[in-house]
Subunit: 241 residues, 2 copies
DNA sequence: CGAAACGTTGAGCTAGTTCAATCCTGGTGG
DNA sequence: CCACCAGGATTGAACTAGCTCAACGTTTCG
């Protein structure tokens, strides 16, 4: 039982992990830290020397606009590394915040670099993780653009549900954590707070899905998927996809 | 003088390329092909066994929605590899099209994999290239979302101008290629064709920038940057950023 | 209990959409 | 050389999705 287990599980869900890669990961040095809800973790402009691992809780990345507006660009569940990209892009062009009380670990870049040069299969898997990240960005782009608010919201809910399911244990009885307030949901979809509220209301009234006390409950998975135009291909969950 | 020179130049613009890495790149096998404007290059669902290099021209990636709408998610200038990510994510979750008559090369994955395992610095640079891609996605997400149509359009123009400038020779006398029609511009920004037209009109009337015969002409760089809230950090053009 | 944060609702307004016509440009065939 | 055509650009006008403003309800937690 290691603090790195969530990472091992996550990487195992997107590709094959050999015994030796598993050991390499388990041996990574990690410094644990608690962060409270809405606490900043990394700032735009920072030059991190380590990458964050989400051990429990949920983090989110966001860009801040000159007019004070915010665009959330991603959220990160247990086992994910939100700023893994700082391995090869030193300067943060966005910020990282905890959406609920979370436990995170700092893993020094040096150690990851060493692990990556020791195993090309591990390198491939970590690279793949950042590529899946990018695939998710593409979908969010569409959520904010052509897909439109209604379908975009549904798409985001589909994604959260599925990613939680895959993360193992985070999805049960048709429900999973989704500790965003409606302002944050709006900031992820590029719509107004009021409109986010009304979109959720509509999903609830149609018996499709609802959010209560920070948890997403999916009532009709088929309908939600249809409303979203959701195709899970982009999450590349199978090693051969 | 090799067909791989554009790639070497591109990678050199985002990091340091050693002599031996340069040689590794120059030795990559490549099959050249001409594609006409609006011709598809790779389709959603494909499982490519090679990656594309843009030798000249401009390509674009896009997602197709169930209602027939399109979301452009990126465009790619000379020296870029639009589907480099298929190295570690086999299945295309979007399509690739040429926006103007272009010359492209196919570089087999096998050869790239071999080069990457031969040189960890080259691996780092290619990985970095995909990470910068992702950083651009984040900005486009904001273009489609919180930034709003006016600033988003300006931001896109800034990005095209700067990337063309860096690509070397593509930007001269305040102008560079930008062979999108207004429908494609609208599809990149998630707005209507009419609105895209009016946004461009406004930029022209204010003496900031204009598009004529497939070329972008920047009249007032300062004003364009201000209108966009443009901060070039995200392009990570310097090796230490 | 009371305060603070979050969620919900109504009403009026506006940015952006749709529809549809017209104009412009470059390319083609006679 | 010119008439014609197709794709793209531009414009006007009516409409509406989504926004802002502002109030009020609800939950959480000290």
């Amino acid at each position: 039982m290691s603090l790195l287990d969530p990472l091992i599980a996550k990487l195992g869900s997107i590709g094959h992990l050999s015994e030796s890669d598993r050991n390499l990961l388990a041996a990574l040095p990690i410094t644990v830290r608690n962060v409270g809800a809405n606490q900043p973790v990394v700032h735009q402009g920072d030059l991190p020397k380590s990458s964050i691992l989400v051990i429990s809780g949920i983090l989110s990345r966001f860009q801040e606009l000159t007019d004070g507006g915010r665009q959330l660009v991603s959220f990160h569940l247990t086992g994910e590394m939100p700023d893994l990209h700082t391995l090869y892009i030193r300067k943060m062009d966005h910020s990282l915040v905890a959406l609920k009380d979370s436990v995170i670990g700092h893993v020094p870049h040096d150690a990851i670099h060493a692990a990556v040069s020791a195993s090309s299969s591990l390198m491939a898997l970590l690279w793949r993780a950042t590529l899946i990240d990018a695939a998710i960005f593409r979908q969010w782009m569409t959520n904010n653009g052509r897909r439109g608010p209604a379908a975009g919201t549904a798409h985001l809910l589909c994604e959260i549900a599925l990613r939680s399911k895959v993360a193992g244990g985070l999805y049960a009885d048709g429900a999973c954590d989704m500790p965003f307030n409606q302002q944050q949901l709006a900031d992820a979809l590029g719509i107004s707070l009021v409109h986010a509220n009304r979109t959720l209301k509509s999903l609830k009234e149609r018996g499709i899905a609802l959010i209560e006390r920070g948890r997403l409950r999916v009532l009709d998975w088929e309908a939600l998927q249809t409303a979203a135009g959701f195709d899970p291909t982009y999450l590349h969950l199978k090693a051969d996809s």
